[in-house]
């Protein structure tokens, strides 16, 4: 039964702007820019060159290792360039630029699985790998790696439909409009893992979606159960969802599979469904475009590689006084300064904030209110982590305060009345600790070499 997780905050969910808006298909742009790195792991090697003709769904990026996922053409047309282009992750990333011929010629590689019911787990992993499926909730970890590393370990298979970040409604709409894909994908996962039930975790503010899914389950008799959870951020974080649904805690520094859990985003489940039943790899994404700067917020489905400017165009443009663009949700998303960056596999939301800018406190003073401690879902003590980081004491941060367990959810920074940049400091601190570790490792290796 649905339980709870530690801490958490209740930001205004702001979902009403797009909650009732059906997913619209964006008119495909004249040109798409497909980065060769849209996932965690090794980047892809382009399989096409300038001048090549490509078809929709054709593989254009070959995975660069086991932890990687292939990339496919999201429109049919001609390759205009293979060159570094600005990416949403900052800097430039090698990308394939395709000029759309608007024919939507589907590639011969796109073939549904002949007998979905008879698939072995290994076969499903292969289909998922070939379809380039990665964690579509934003984590973008290659799904085939996740499945194969959890096979035989996970007895709790969970679909993450919490969608706990404010503004975002893409998953909500997907569940309302495409329940057969959600339940179908979940059923495939149940079959793959050999579990009696797959749990779908939904926040209580999406009761209507839970009802639709329950009707679908009743209709098909699928081995799926819907769990309605508290509306609280970060309900959709892996560790928190795992805790809320299974009551188990993922050991520090370990994967959900180590607690017997395997978690997939709801749109990942849909992607698995489409890969199996339609043979279609990841070529499009549902993106919620919202925020005070957007004239007419919408849920749009667009080809991967669509410049975000096209999304804003489709929403009536932006207000003149827009001061911030964010890819992803407001709690964990990344600020963008270029509207030409493309939609990637992990893009679920584009926000524009306009009007009164956030007030920066130039010399923030912690008032020791302890609210950050109460809000941290990992039960860390952000107040002290920050204090020691500011003193440059990464030793205490790492070992005594368990700073490396911070999931960078932003709950502490959200709640802090003194406006301390807590999460930012932790992100930097974690990076430095990692760098320290690497340096120490390199030193140790060098010494070993010397001795040998």
């Amino acid at each position: 039964m649905a339980q709870s997780f530690f801490g958490g905050v209740h930001p205004d969910d702001k979902k009403s702007a797009t909650r009732a808006k059906p997913i619209e298909t964006l008119e495909a742009p004249a040109e798409v820019v497909i980065p060769m790195s849209m996932h965690i792991g090794a980047p892809c090697k382009p399989l096409v060159a300038k001048g090549d003709t490509v078809q929709l769904g054709q593989r254009i990026g070959e995975p660069g290792g086991f932890v990687s996922a292939p990339i496919h053409a999201s429109v049919s047309g001609t390759v205009k360039a293979v060159e570094p282009r600005p990416s949403s992750m900052g800097g430039k990333v090698l990308s394939v630029v395709i000029e759309n011929d608007f024919q939507n010629t589907i590639s011969g590689e796109v073939k549904p699985v002949a007998d979905p019911g008879g698939m072995t787990p290994e076969e499903l992993v292969e289909v998922v790998r070939n379809a380039g499926i990665v964690g579509l909730g934003g984590a973008t970890f290659p799904t085939h790696v996740k499945i194969s590393s959890a096979l035989g370990k996970a007895d709790y298979v969970i679909i993450n439909a919490a969608e706990c970040e404010p503004y975002i409604t893409g998953d909500h709409r997907t569940m309302l409009e495409r329940p057969e894909q959600v339940i179908g994908g979940a059923t495939l996962l149940a079959q793959c893992f050999g579990v009696d039930k797959v749990y779908i975790g939904i926040e209580a503010n999406k009761q209507d979606a839970a009802d639709v899914l329950n009707r679908e389950i009743a209709k098909t008799g699928a081995p799926v159960a819907v769990e309605v959870l508290h509306t609280r951020y970060p309900q959709g974080a892996e560790k928190q969802l795992c805790q809320a649904i299974s009551g188990r805690q993922i050991p520090s520094g370990k994967l959900p599979a180590d607690a017997g859990c395997c978690i997939f985003n709801v749109s990942t489940a849909c992607a698995i469904y489409r890969a199996v039943y339609e043979g279609m790899p990841i070529v499009s994404k549902v993106v919620t475009v919202s925020g005070s700067g957007v004239i007419e917020p919408k849920n749009l489905e667009c080809p991967i590689g669509t410049p975000v400017a096209k999304l804003f165009d489709a929403c009536g443009g932006l207000r003149e006084d827009t001061y911030k663009l964010i890819m992803g949700g407001p709690m964990m998303g990344m600020a963008q300064y270029d509207t030409e960056v493309p939609v990637g596999k992990g893009t679920g939301c584009m926000l524009a904030f306009a009007g009164d800018e956030e007030q920066y406190v130039s010399d923030p003073q912690c008032i020791r209110c302890g609210k950050c401690v109460g809000a941290c879902p990992i039960r860390l003590e952000p107040i002290f982590m920050y204090k020691y980081l500011m003193k440059g004491d990464r030793e205490t941060f790492e070992h005594k305060l368990h700073g490396m367990d911070c999931i960078e959810c932003g709950a502490c920074t959200y709640i802090c009345p003194a406006r301390l940049p807590l999460t930012h400091a932790f992100r930097m601190g974690k990076q430095q600790v990692q760098a320290d570790r690497m340096a120490a490792k390199a030193r140790a290796e060098a010494e070993q070499k010397k001795e040998a």
């Binding site: 998303g333 600020a335 008032i367 932003g410 920074t413 959200y414």
Partner: protein
């Protein structure tokens, strides 16, 4: 269509939204929560009302001035707008006698703001509650003036006259802790008097009713959590129930102990002071229980009739310890220990 190139975009790190609540709004909430009690009490002082009001204003002005002056002198950033000095000023006035000379309260506010708060680095860095420390310093320096408690119906003396009609506070009356002294107290003041503030004492000692309402407001607004006030008041209640003097109804004894003196003000507004109480929930409960035990001890065995002020100051000194040793068990740690145990 909008030309996106013209947008003035800022880049910053997530999260991109913040809760509405900031330091200023929290302090404002504390002030709002104190106002009903303060105003009702000021009104009850009758012909002394004006004096009570000017003393409060003087205390607030003093705190603001010292804060401003110190930070100006030290060339530090100005944060008068966070209203924390105003809260200290109001609280300081509320724990002092209405008859206190103006200059004394300025000395008190100097001690509270400069010595206790700013010398340690300003807001959030002090380890003692500034208002209570200010009061303690004043009591040490000017014991007489700090224990002149106005009678509830005292009239303001005519010009040139120095006669101040004083009264013993309820706690002083039952100080001896015998059945007789308690009977004297119940004859002087009814529970209703206590509850509605018709008693002698400082501005903040009553009315309990309004202080509780203010406390509830802070709880509802999530400015404070229930842990400290409930642990504190609960401990005092439990100790009193168990230790009522022979021949006195335990419940009545407890009620008088709860509503007399500074317990309500202390439990809701002073023990909960962020800077000087622990940050973890469990630490806060221990802190509250500690305050309660020490309060009862001082009331019963100490040389002062009231123990709220000192009990909180004493517990303030243990806060760093409580924060050091009472730590939350982090997510995933439980399993880790179990696993290690299993591995053995």
């Amino acid at each position: 269509m909008t030309d996106y190139k013209n947008l003035k975009l800022i880049a910053s790190s997530s999260p991109h939204i913040r809760s509405e609540e900031d330091t200023r709004s929290i302090m404002l909430d504390v002030i709002i929560a104190l106002l009903p009690a303060l105003l009702m009490r000021v009104y009850q002082f009758g012909s002394w009302s004006f004096r009570a009001l000017t003393l409060t204003v003087c205390s607030v002005a003093g705190c603001l001035f010292w804060e401003w002056g110190y930070r100006k002198l030290m060339k530090k950033s100005m944060a008068l707008g966070d209203l924390s000095a105003v809260v200290t000023g109001v609280l300081l006035a509320m724990v002092c006698p209405v008859t206190l000379p103006y200059w004394m309260i300025l000395v008190g506010s100097f001690f509270a703001i400069v010595v206790v708060k700013q010398l340690y680095g300003g807001i959030g860095c002090n380890f003692l509650n500034p208002a209570l420390a200010g009061r303690a310093a004043l009591t040490a320096a000017y014991a007489g003036a700090m224990t002149t408690w106005l009678a509830p119906d005292a009239t303001y003396p005519a010009f040139g006259s120095a006669d101040i009609i004083t009264a013993a506070t309820p706690l002083a009356i039952m100080k001896e802790g015998t059945a007789e002294s308690f009977a004297e107290l119940t004859n002087t003041y009814s529970l209703g008097d206590l509850f509605l503030g018709k008693i002698g004492g400082s501005l903040g000692e009553a009315p309990a009713l309004m202080l509780i309402l203010g406390g509830i407001y802070l709880l509802v607004r999530k400015v404070i959590s229930w842990h400290i006030p409930v642990a504190y008041i609960g401990t005092v209640a439990a100790v009193c129930l168990l230790s009522a003097p022979a021949g006195v109804g335990a419940a009545e004894y407890m009620a008088y102990n709860l509503f007399a003196g500074g317990l309500m003000l202390g439990a809701f507004f002073m023990a909960t002071d962020y800077a000087t109480s622990p940050v973890t929930r469990l630490g806060q409960i221990v802190f509250g229980v500690g305050c309660g035990l020490i309060t009862c001890f001082i009331r019963r065995f100490g040389s002062y009739p009231e123990g709220v002020c000192y009990s909180i100051l004493i517990m303030n000194c243990t806060t760093w310890l409580l924060d050091k040793y009472i730590r939350p068990t982090i997510y995933g740690a439980l399993r880790r220990e179990k696993k290690e145990a299993a591995a053995k």
